[in-house]
């Protein structure tokens, strides 16, 4: 109800603004006359008409004219376009541009995942330019979107790069910690229940719940299959929470553990045989093949990247995957996802729901990981610091770093990074498996 009141008051504000802009348009018209007469003296139009037609093409007019019948831009083509509402074509865009500036601020001043936020936010800025149709079938963002997001190609390339960057050494040295990567997936399914209770369709709810894994590429992959309309909001939510890992996780970690638990020092990890690392991606892929072929695209790309790295004979390829390729794809993926920040797609009520459920999912995942680690610590003969459970969400390597940071704050010199990397990489596998399960349900 409150939202409605706000909307109505905004509506009145807009009406006031439009009438003001109408008035100011008459003031500015004479200034522009000279420019347009010089260029187009041979047109048989009066000066007034010229100024009017120029005014029609300005962004100002598009932003402030409430009934200009502008169409939304859809990468699928003109057939899917619809007329924008007054809110989408005017105030909505202004709000979105302000949101984009906040994202810029977070990325630049606060250093929250700038590699993701800068391309996404800039894509959002471009998508909200009136009349340009950047997100349409022929627009730059639309082309990028069709090239790799609508067909799920970019997320797979990202997974390949992440695979090539991941060192499974810590996981292989202490395999038991992989279970923590499973516990954190509880966030995904908890959010699924929550989203259904709130009133989302069960298929949409499944797509949203993947945010709980804090895994951008997987979220995009699933959203594309299950709820393409919500892709923008889901991707933005997933990437925002990946960026906000250092803010969201520590309070949850501290709340669920005691001081004694947080200062536990873990045994140094054993040395891992090179052959173990080499075979590991194949083992994971074989398991995926046997248990869950639905997850094959994600796990396959991941395993390929990792295998190329561990084989040790194709350094050029693995270098490309973990540097140039992933950088290029990140640029495109960011801009493509950003195109979904267009006001007509992002400023819908569902977005709020998605952001809230995503946050709950992510928090529940963190909490489940920590609680599981507490249980493991009780029943295991080797001490396990429960903090590493928080790394079970698949935001690699952010959450492992956060765990390490919290750990060393509690006890200087206690470096948990390597121990946290185990659950962290297991979390990637875990959320890919969870994604496969959800896909298999809706197949």
């Amino acid at each position: 109800m409150n939202l409605k009141q706000i909307l109505i008051s905004l509506l009145f504000a807009m009406i006031a603004l439009t009438s003001m802009s109408e008035a100011s348009s008459h003031d500015t018209a004479p200034i522009t006359e000279e420019v347009s007469t010089e260029k187009q003296t041979y047109e048989s139009k009066t000066i007034g008409e010229l100024a009017g037609s120029w005014w029609q093409t300005t962004g100002l007019n598009a932003l402030f004219d409430v009934n200009d019948g502008e169409m939304t831009s859809e990468p699928k083509g003109a057939a899917y376009e619809r007329e924008m509402t007054w809110f989408e074509s005017s105030l909505g865009r202004i709000i979105m541009i302000l949101i984009v500036f906040i994202l810029f601020y977070l990325a630049i001043a606060k250093n929250f995942e700038p590699l993701l936020l800068i391309p996404i936010a800039f894509g959002g800025l471009l998508a909200n330019i009136p009349l340009a149709g950047m997100g349409g079938e022929g627009g730059m963002l639309g082309i990028i979107y069709n090239m790799g997001i609508a067909n799920e190609f970019f997320p797979l390339l990202i997974f390949m790069g992440v695979g090539a960057m991941t060192d499974f050494g810590p996981l292989l040295a202490n395999p038991k910690t992989a279970i923590l990567g499973g516990a954190a997936q509880f966030g995904i399914f908890g959010a699924l229940v929550g989203a259904v209770i709130i009133g989302f369709d069960i298929q949409d709810a499944s797509a949203i719940s993947i945010i709980g894994g804090a895994d951008g590429p997987t979220s995009i992959f699933i959203a594309n299959r299950l709820a393409p309309d919500m892709l923008g909001a889901i991707a933005v939510a997933a990437y925002s929470y990946m960026a906000l890992v250092p803010v969201i996780q520590p309070p949850i970690m501290r709340a669920l553990t005691t001081k004694e638990e947080r200062v536990i020092v873990m045994k140094t990890t054993r040395k891992v045989h090179r052959l173990e690392k080499l075979i590991f991606p194949i083992v994971v892929l074989m398991l995926a093949l046997l248990l869950l072929p639905e997850s094959a695209p994600l796990i396959g790309a991941f395993a390929f990247g990792n295998f190329a790295k561990e084989s040790g004979v194709v350094d050029r390829l693995s270098d490309t995957m973990q540097n140039s390729l992933i950088n290029i794809v990140t640029i495109f993926l960011g801009l493509g996802v950003g195109s979904k920040l267009a006001a007509d797609k992002f400023l819908v009520l569902e977005t709020m729901g998605i952001m809230v459920i995503g946050l709950i999912a992510f928090s529940v995942g963190t909490a489940a990981g920590v609680l599981m680690a507490k249980v493991m610590n009780k029943y295991s003969d080797e001490p396990i610091n429960p903090l590493i459970g928080a790394a079970g969400v698949s935001a690699v390597p952010m959450s492992a770093r956060v765990v390490s940071k919290v750990g060393s704050e509690e006890k200087p010199g206690n470096v948990l990074l390597m121990h946290a990397m185990g659950p962290n990489v297991a979390g990637v596998i875990g959320s890919a498996v969870a994604a496969g399960v959800l896909l298999s349900i809706f197949k």
């Binding site: 395999p175 997936q185 699924l192 209770i197 069960i202 173990e276 398991l287 248990l291 959800l438």
Partner: protein, 82 residues
């Protein structure tokens, strides 16, 4: 209303299945990795010693290069002197 309740139950079923499969996958993975580690330790134990050996070889190489460089410098120095 009845439909809604139904969906929530459905969601719980998804949760059961999903968490089950995730844990099954990871537990099998852990077991396989543990067995794999044991097998590799048993049948390829010499490989761990190979890595330091390779490093030692590299060091020896570097030493030789250093020696060569020193000899070259010394001869150069002597030649200039005479």
């Amino acid at each position: 209303m009845a439909d809604e309740v139904n969906y929530v139950v459905e969601a719980f079923k998804f949760m059961l299945l999903g968490m089950g499969v995730v844990f099954l996958f990871l537990i099998i993975l852990v077991k396989v990795v543990e067995i794999q580690a044991k097998l590799i330790a048993k049948y390829f134990p010499e490989d761990t010693s190979k890595i330091p050996a390779a490093k030692a070889g590299k060091i020896a190489d570097e030493e030789q290069q250093k020696v060569a460089a020193i000899i070259a410098a010394v001869t150069e120095f002597r030649n200039n002197k005479s």
